[in-house]
Amino acid sequence: MLKFTDEHEWLKIEGDVATVGITAYAVEQLGDLVFVELPEAGSAFAKGDTASTVESVKAASDVYCPLDGEIVESNQAIVDDPSLVNSDPQGSGWFFKLKLSDPSAVNALLDEAAYKELIA
């Protein structure tokens, strides 16, 4: 199941774990990324907390945790090569995997059609 937030994150949900990244639209707005800072596995976040920071040549931007949960894995590949986020934002450019405190909370997120309408 694929879900979106109005902060331009995507979540691919498998059981109670969500793989989280930023959308192609977000990447387009940010421009070429030169630095990514990711949360450590085991750290817990509430919805809306800053979980990650990305930087373009020009500016730093926060990436928010889309739901309450605990980080189970971070994508070291985008730390080593931030341009992966630009080239494949909704694939190999994923940020982290989040074990959801309440898997039913995903129902409140946007589906793909609603997200497309948001950025239209």
């Binding site: 421009g31 070429d32 030169v34 630095f35 800072e37 920071t53 930087e55 373009s56 040549v57 020009k58 500016a59 730093a60």
Partner: protein, 379 residues
Amino acid sequence: MDDHSPLKQTPLYALHLQLGARMVPFAGYDMPVQYPAGVLKEHLHTRAAAGLFDVSHMGQIRLTAKSGRIEDAALALEKLVPVDILGLGEGRQRYALFTNADGGILDDLMVANRGDHLFLVVNAACKDADFAHLQAHLGDSCDLEMLEDRALIALQGPHAVTVLAELWADIATMRFMDVAEAELHDVPCIISRSGYTGEDGFEISIPAVSAEDVARRILQHPDVLPIGLGARDSLRLEAGLCLYGNDIDTGTTPVEAGLEWALQKARRIGGSREGGYPGADVILRQLSSGASRRRVGLKPEGKAPVRRGALLFADAEGQKQVGNVTSGGFGPSAESPVAMGYVPTDLASPGTILFAEVRGKYLPVTVSALPFVTPSYKR
């Protein structure tokens, strides 16, 4: 500046939109921050080939002595800048600073000797204040004109000279900081071999009505890409050049800013026209005995950019604050973060390790010689 006043447009506004620029407010103008290529590619393209910048928001001022003598115009302007203007030959340009009574910097500018008048290029955000400052202090002896009907573009990069040579063959004979008048596509332009990127390049003042035509013809060259303010900032930062309002302002003196090279001998102690500008007492004293702090280059050790406003500490625990970052970001050519800031003079030696506060962490940064890239000016 009134944030609610409508944004002004340069003569190249329609061209920016057509090129797909992302426009942002800057110094009261609606300006291109980047084009579809993006900041990173625009930056690297400028260092590898040639980039075209619209800098028409900057102020272009003509200063003419009422006597008609260029020497009188030069001596008049010297009352406001710690720079040797009288010694500036015809067809030459030089960097200058307007200072205030405390030795602080009101603006930085370029001054060209155009034979019968001086031609000044000042920062967009300061241009109205600069004009009023000039009028108040020099109005009795000089005529001043803000050239509202001219655009200003910059073509920067190693291929700039070959691109422009197709329009004006003699351009290759110009040296760094030469200023000449020439026709590009039958349009009379004022061309200087200078810029704000650390690259060889040219700034071209064009009558506003012809600016789009000249810019389009330059952009037709396969080596040229349009470059926005984003890359302009990363290019000048790598080149160690100050941005007014960030790295220099009324609270910094030319000596603190490391701009002693811009203060020629004639205006220093023992020089033929020693002092005689606002804040001369402070600046001459600092030239002799040094200032307590200094602008330095800073190279963060990790990959995280350290940006303007970050505090600098002597220790990794953030106990003793010693300075602050005034410009910082990622340097695409340096392939690493780069920054500038002010530190106490005893911590200003290259190699000194300091710590910058970024998101609650204290990241090691090394004081580094400026610039971060080797300039390729054609001297």
